[in-house]
Symmetry: C2
Subunit: 308 residues, 2 copies
């Protein structure tokens, strides 16, 4: 079997920064096409303005990576599955949970691979953190995820619209890590969401979760951080403190600090190739479920208007 002929759909920042290099660096894939309303393609690779135009063309593909905003993702994924293509979904996998459930059923019927990717789970320290926590007694968890939205999402209007997640767009990365490394299920007990008076989505959130043993998990999300940025997870255990810093890249355990090179997107594409080879899907909706729960259960406060 030759390499998987993949098309990248939605040629924004994340496609250029992460997807294209990861595809270029993995011999299991070959970039067969790009799709974008704009003309931001890749030299020498067929470019289309819509996915429909690509599937109607004579360019042969086996898979698509969907990097568009979540509000537009379902229709693209459904079209791809109808055509028997394997689908790689950027995070979050959809704008709603029910549409992701519908895609899971669709992929099962189509017999193709659906992969809901969570890139932060492939951050360098995460696998070791998960292994270290697996049989430890956890006494408390703190997540501090504070960044400057003007730096990371300049002018991205969709992220503030209904179905864009606001500060949960980065926050869901933290949730994708802690759902992966904490051994017990957890759920929201109380939340406060701060929403700018001129926007639909929150700019900050204070979240109190509890796990099934009653352990408290506190999460502090804020998009108004200037200066040094914080993407830290601290897990207190009976055997000492685990720290994951830099979004999961740097792991500190009692007595040692582990640093590895970044391999988030290469890790995701290696996983996608494995899933395709094995004829399996991998769709874990827990991070999006926790975000939906925060919108469902959380108290909303109106705060100062936000202007880019």
């Amino acid at each position: 079997m030759g390499p998987i002929r993949i098309a990248v759909v939605g040629m924004g920042k994340i496609a250029h920064d992460q997807h294209l290099p990861a595809i270029a660096g993995n011999p299991a894939f070959t970039l067969a096409a790009t799709v974008s309303r704009s003309d931001s393609g890749v030299d020498g690779v067929p470019h289309f303005h819509t996915l429909q135009a690509l599937v109607d063309s004579d360019v042969a593909i086996d898979a698509v990576a969907l990097c568009t905003p979540p509000q537009a993702r379902y229709d693209l994924a459904a079209l791809a599955l109808d055509k028997g293509l394997h689908v790689f979904l950027e995070k979050p996998p959809g704008a709603t949970l029910a549409e992701v459930d519908a895609l899971v059923a669709h992929a099962a019927k189509a017999g193709t691979t659906l992969f809901a990717s969570w890139h932060s789970r492939y951050a360098a320290g995460v696998a070791s953190a998960r292994a270290w926590l697996a049989d430890r007694q956890i006494t408390g968890v703190k997540v501090i995820w504070r960044e400057d939205v003007r730096v990371w999402h300049p002018g991205q209007a969709w992220i503030w619209e209904p179905g864009g997640l606001g500060v949960f767009d980065p926050g869901i990365n933290a949730l994708s890590i802690i759902t992966h490394i904490l051994p017990d299920p957890f759920f929201l007990a109380e939340a406060t969401l701060e929403v700018p008076e001129n926007r639909a989505a929150p700019i900050a959130a204070d979240l109190h979760f509890r796990d099934s043993r009653g352990t408290a998990i506190h999460m502090d999300l804020d998009w108004r951080q200037t200066g040094p940025q914080s993407w830290d997870i601290v897990v207190e255990t009976a055997d000492g403190t685990l720290r994951l810093a830099n979004g999961g890249a740097v792991l500190t355990l009692p007595g040692e600090t582990l640093r590895h090179d970044d391999h988030e997107y290469p890790g995701l594409y290696a996983r996608f190739a494995d899933l395709v080879a094995q004829g399996q899907s991998d769709v874990d909706t827990r991070p999006l479920t926790l975000v939906a729960d925060a919108f469902l259960r959380g108290k909303r406060l109106v705060t100062d208007a936000f202007f880019d």
Copy 2:
């Protein structure tokens, strides 16, 4: 095996109006205790102010029916499962999706039955509606659920708090029916939620869903209806129109109208007895998922203050 000794927890309106008569009318159950912060028990039946006091007592029970507001349901269910009791959950099964998922895992570990009840699925016309629609081509669905909150939820402050569902408290009944009778999965495309300026939860909602074939499903929820109340579902098909009126009680198919007696709660308790006998659980979170999606994806409008 004798009858299932059941305790009813949360002796509010729904417990008195529905649960107690359904339990009294089913020989598979015997009412063994009641639990409520108030003294609103039943003559001749042991009454406790907390579930903990009941499980610490010498009153033997096999199961609990939890009729408290959803914000308090998880801890009660977890305590019951820890004690090896079967659990009947009023709708909605919890204040968040993740806590319900945690209970499912807990019940599986405990080896007891967990039943997330949706009483409207047992309305007289629903089973026939489901059978009639199973292999028909559906071209459109309309749900009109308009009632007077002052009549149905007088002074229920919790329903307006975060985690109370506002107008989705009745609306989730309609969702429990349409997730049951429509053959294809569906999901939210667009929603507008109207929230009174002095409350946390919506008083009205306009919801546009689509199914996986692209069929439109429109839902009109409103708690400000005075005069005649509307709980109607209209399904257009290639073979004519199906109407479910009165919350599912009256079914009209092309050429015939079917009326049956109400049997919602007797139906639920018959189902619960079957599940206990078979050692199974039944937890369908799709109705709550669609509500969470509406909070996640919907546009919020502030509307006039609401006073009881």
